[in-house]
């Protein structure tokens, strides 16, 4: 069952005429981008744009058949009663957790692009979120040499020295004579 945030995302996604037209077409049969573009008199890149939004909201999915990628409707979502959606409960703890999650996602989306860090935030709270995201690539309690740490951090940003120093200062990486370790205290995957 969807949570409140996913429900809002779905409804926002549906509030678009072209996307409704796409869903109407897919309700009859699975189609590829070219066919949808022709049918709706919209360019293929615009169709791909809308399909991505629909897929992210869980409304459609894709599969490959020979050389083509087809899109299909997630019928089970549309078989639900609207009353089921609007009755999704959220208690305050859930709401707070959801707000925190949304804030983290917003920061990550602002500072990362295709898995690379665009820049390191100056604000402490935002920097912490970014560093916590990066530290996920380190295994808990595994010892890494400085060279290994530098190589891993260089995947995120050219200034891996600053990243390494900041992660040690933040307690996200522990450093001793053996090397660097991610302590289990900060094992937080969500």
């Amino acid at each position: 069952m969807m949570n409140e945030r996913e429900t809002v995302q779905l409804f926002k996604c549906l509030a678009d005429k072209t996307r409704l037209q796409i869903l109407r077409s897919l309700a009859n049969e699975d189609m590829d981008v070219e066919r949808l573009a022709q049918r709706l008199n919209v360019t293929p890149p615009t169709i791909s744009f809308h399909l991505k939004k629909l897929a992210d909201a869980g409304a459609v999915s894709s599969y490959k058949e020979q050389y083509y990628t087809f899109y299909s409707l997630h019928r089970e979502i549309f078989m639900k009663n609207i009353l089921d959606f609007i009755q999704i409960q959220s208690d305050e703890a859930d709401l707070q957790a959801q707000r925190d999650h949304d804030y983290r996602e917003k920061i990550i989306a602002s500072f990362f692009e295709y898995g690379k860090l665009k820049s390191l935030p100056t604000q402490r709270k935002k920097k912490r979120i970014v560093l916590e995201e990066i530290v996920k690539s380190f295994k808990v309690n595994q010892i890494y040499t400085e060279r290994e740490v530098n190589i891993m951090l260089a995947d995120y940003h050219d200034d891996f020295c600053t990243l390494r120093r900041d992660m040690v200062e933040a307690g996200l990486l522990k450093r001793d004579q053996e090397g660097y370790q991610r302590p289990c205290k900060y094992e937080k995957e969500n």
């Binding site: 509030a15 678009d16 615009t46 744009f49 991505k52 939004k53 295709y114």
Partner: protein, 121 residues
């Protein structure tokens, strides 16, 4: 020479107005994302209108032409790079945004060459 300048400036004014109109129509039609796409094209037109006005400050007609064509080549290079990166990551949303900017710049270039050339002395 003055005719070419007036034609190009009118082109920008008309196209920017058209994009605003299309954006409003899309929005009223419940197609907010497509309204945004028209706004993106409008922003590119506004950008190059400014670039064109700057080109007119160059010393002579040849310098003006070179300035404008150079900018019409260089500025979209960044968009082309972003498009390729988006394509590698299968980011259909970003690919569309970048392709609209690239295509709008291409249309501006073709129009500029046409008007500049037609009224050439």
């Amino acid at each position: 020479m003055v005719k070419a300048e007036a034609s190009i400036i009118n082109y920008f004014i008309k196209q920017i107005e058209e994009k605003k109109k299309q954006s409003t129509l899309c929005y009223e039609d419940g197609r907010a994302d497509e309204a945004n796409l028209e706004k993106i094209a409008g922003s590119v037109l506004t950008l190059f209108q400014t670039v064109y006005e700057a080109s007119l400050k160059q010393d002579d007609r040849m310098s003006q032409q070179t300035f404008m064509l150079d900018q019409l080549q260089q500025i979209p290079n960044h968009w082309r790079q972003s498009y390729q990166i988006a394509k590698q990551h299968d980011d259909a949303v970003k690919m569309l945004y970048e392709s609209i900017k690239i295509e709008t710049a291409k249309q501006i270039r073709e129009t500029f060459i046409r008007y500049w050339g037609e009224h050439d002395e």
